[in-house]
Amino acid sequence: MSYWFRNDNRLPQTRLAIVSYVIVGMIGVLLLGFWKLQVIDSDKYGQMAEQNRVRSIPIIAPRGRMLDRDGRVLVDNRPSFSVLLLRDDPKLVEQYLPAISDGLGISIDDLHDQLQNTRNLPKFQPIVIKPEASSADLDFIESHRSDIPVLEMLSVSRRRYLPNGFLAHATGYVGEASETQIENSNGKLRPGDVVGKFGLERQYNDILMGTDGMRRVIVNSIGKEVDHLTQQDPIPGKQIQLSIDMDLQQVAEQSLGQRPGAVVALDPRTGEVLAMVSRPTPDPNDFAVRISAKEWKQLNEDPLKPLLNRAIQAQLAPGSVFKIVTATAMLQDHEIPESFTTYCPGYGMFFGRQYHCYVYYAKSGPHAHGPTNLHEAILKSCDVFFYTIGMKMGIDRLSFYGDKLGIGHKTGIDLPSEESGLMPSEEWVERVFHRKWYLGEAISVAIGQGAVTTTPVQLARLIGGIASGGVFKQPHMLKDVKDVPEERFALSEHTIGTITEAMYGVVNEPGGTGGRLKLAGIELSGKSGTAQVIGYNKMALVRKGTKFADNAWFVGYAPRRNPEICVAVLVQESGQHGGEAAGPVVRDIVKAYYDKKNGVPAGTVTAEARSTSSVNGTAVVAPAVAIKENAAASVAANPADGNGSEQ
């Protein structure tokens, strides 16, 4: 036995007792800590545990489709995947950004921007960082589920539009809701939600957009779904049936070709729009997903303004089409006898200034109209006759009738951002320019120049309404709408008869400006217009250098009274007269309308109408098949404009 512990049995009992108390105290303090967490703050931690394990994943409701008047699909959806970033833990997000940037091919700056833009939203809401995930992206997310726990895939349906901008301006396009839209939606919209931005998509967004569903799932600590709690099914958006006739639309698209301009075809009896084209056009499929700020800027700043729906937004001088308004004013007012005749030597002298008739510049034939009455003046579009009428009537009467016939007013078509055009008046000049009306201005206005501007849809409504006896149905895009608003302007039977007779003559009488448009068996009537882009004065200032070609108009309809179809066509800066550049488009559409009505197979018609063109007619108008690439391919394959037969 060693020496060092022998008989050493003095134990420090007091200090041992102290140690016991310390032990009891220590356990007591620990229990207090548990009491605080488990009893006092239990609810708070309970919620945090719940937030940990439960994740809400939206199920996107598909948008309603758009059908044409025969039920063919114009706008559909296709399945796609979006990549979601879960932002519950900002530090975690920050940590994985480089890996995400690498894996998904999104620049770090872009990701930072997106996070910055959504910083005000609740953290538990995931954001869409890549709207159109490729299969490689999906593989990346799937294989990094455990080491990048902040990514999630979201199955969505994307808009699919017909290719090559078919009906693009009317259908419009969708995009992610802007911050303003989200704020104004009373919580209905969330970031990343897709809403209509333009056209019908925007107009009928509430109908087309469904209500998203929600899936609540349990996830483990590495973000893997382990169980499923509840599912609230999405309510799909409702489909809408447009009044658009896909066959006519096809003809209209092709016939206008790639020339800048617009086409509006409507049924004046109901106001239903049968076709609507605007050129140039973007492909809305490009922004069905997400468009970069740069591309967007480019589109917006493109001098050709491809985003503008010229059919309802182009406000341009109507040119000679306006002579129908002047003629209506003359006939209704009775101050100038109907038998009134002018002599047109190619120009007229008013207030000591020479106003030329367009015929003065004619490339061939006589440079004067000679003696001209109202019928001949409309037929041949004699400017001197209408200069005289304008001067005699004055701006007050002209603007009264222009106003009554709808110039300067929106037609009320169910598309956003419609423009109203302008019907100048003394009051307007005083209000805007703070000056007196120059009497000479009425002379220009009478032939649709000067300050008067109209939109294509306005002219289609105006001409169609006059031919329908002064009943102006509000143009609209949906089929079978009940109680279409209409405006009536009491025109005498004599006025209507005289004007429709003259417009019939424009196409069907010798010397009419639309003489080449004659269609066998169809009472195609109409009025051409060739409008200068800028006034004579301005042109003199900038003449050197720039060439300003005229805008060509033709508004045609059939039959000659109470028409079934009225088509307004604008071809911008074509350098040709309205009857030459715009007229054939009207003729193609009216022809196609009657062929369809009479059961003549499409295609042959267009071939006949294009007898002088080299295009193989049978292939020109393929039967339009909804959402098939080949439908539009046939458009692309036949870039020939509808003016093959003009010369």
């Binding site: 512990f5 239990s42 833990d89």
Partner: protein, 370 residues
């Protein structure tokens, strides 16, 4: 000398009962935490194997007279230093630290053995102090005895285990008759040191980067994403969401979905608290209190000072483990990597506890000897 141990009647059956109860809680919670997650199933069986092995070693150690062990203290001390040294040179590295020595097909954490040896060495040292009061020279000597292995363990680095040596030394010195004035001075120094550790301008000279990070994330858990601040937060959420009654066995979402870090080992108390609630915590901490008090009682009835120091060294080590681990689970202390004795899964740590309790039983069995 002949073995003077008495029959089985003299074993501390209460202590064994408490021990087994705590082990049972541990096995239950290890089962709950691991049975449903891939790759970890069957862990509770492994733990049971360690426990059986531990009980065997405990009884074996209790038969060997502790005076014989104390006799060999200098030799054990040298072995301890050699082992700690060799682990730094030869040890296998895991999670950036050299702590394991590969022996007989098993990886052993040498510092666990070191703890046991330091308990023995300190008991021998303090028992040799003849007076009732401990003078400063003795304190310094004890400090050096502990200091060398402490620095070696810090080198691994294993701050948690190194820190355990401090209360063993403190309790020993206190019971050996440390003057109150000295006790006060050392306490003050300790407080200052802890303060320095938490004060960045000073701590950057004292601590390794990962240790400073843990301190930072403890003080500012929200600044630490997936690191130890996140771990502490998840642990607190588990404990808090358990409430008074708990979510039920196998029903803790924090536990079952893996939000609690190493839920079967260092954070097993969080898993237990989530599923069993405050009532379960009361039971578990009650058992630990009973264990510690039972150890003190054994010390009070020891035959001699050496036995008392042995028992109290064990009590100090276990008490410190419980305090630091449980305080970490409720977010009151930084993450140190100290397991909860007998409940946390682990071979070396479990064996250490059983060997230590074996020493305690040894002392008890010999309390009536001449």
């Amino acid at each position: 000398m002949k073995d003077a141990a008495q029959g089985s009647r003299d074993y501390d059956w209460w202590l064994i009962a408490i021990l087994m109860a705590i082990c049972a809680l541990g096995v239950l919670e290890i089962y709950s935490a691991t049975h449903a997650s891939g790759g970890l199933e069957g862990m509770h069986y492994k733990q049971i194997r360690w426990l059986v092995f531990g009980f065997a070693i405990m009884f074996a150690l209790s038969r060997l007279d502790y005076h014989l062990i104390l006799d060999q203290a200098p030799l054990l001390y040298v072995i301890c230093l050699i082992a700690l040294g060799s682990v730094l040179v030869l040890g296998s590295s895991r999670f950036g630290a050299r702590r394991w020595l590969h022996l007989a097909g098993q990886d052993f954490q040498v510092s666990e053995l070191a703890k046991l040896i330091i308990i023995i060495v300190l008991a021998r040292f303090f028992a040799e102090v003849r007076s009732d009061e401990l003078d400063l020279r003795d304190v310094l000597k004890a400090g050096m005895l502990v200091g060398v292995p402490l620095v070696l363990i810090l080198k691994q680095p294993d701050l948690g285990t190194a820190l355990v040596l401090v209360p063993m030394m403190a309790v020993g010195a206190f019971l050996a008759g440390l003057k109150w004035i000295h006790a006060g001075i050392f306490t003050l120094a300790g407080v200052l040191l802890v303060g320095a550790v938490f004060y960045p301008p000073v701590s950057k000279h004292l601590l390794k980067p990962y240790q400073r990070e843990r301190i930072t994330s403890f003080l500012h858990p929200e600044e630490d994403a997936k690191g130890s601040g996140y771990q502490l937060l998840q642990s607190k959420i588990a404990v808090g969401s358990g409430g008074f009654w708990g979510k039920g066995f196998g029903n803790g979402s924090q536990n079952q979905l893996g939000y609690i870090p190493v839920r079967y080992s260092d954070f097993i108390m969080a898993a237990w608290a989530e599923e069993q609630g405050f009532k379960g915590v009361l039971l578990a901490l009650g058992l630990y209190m009973a264990l510690l008090l039972r150890l003190v009682q054994n010390a009070q009835r020891a035959k001699d000072r050496a036995g008392m120091f042995l028992v109290m060294g064990v009590a100090a080590a276990l008490g410190f483990h419980v305090l630091v681990n449980v305080a970490m689970v409720i977010g009151a202390m930084p993450v140190t990597g100290i397991p909860l004795p007998l409940m946390s899964y682990g071979g070396s740590a479990t064996l250490f506890v059983f060997m230590a309790i074996g020493l305690v039983m040894n002392v008890r069995l010999r309390r009536f000897v001449n």
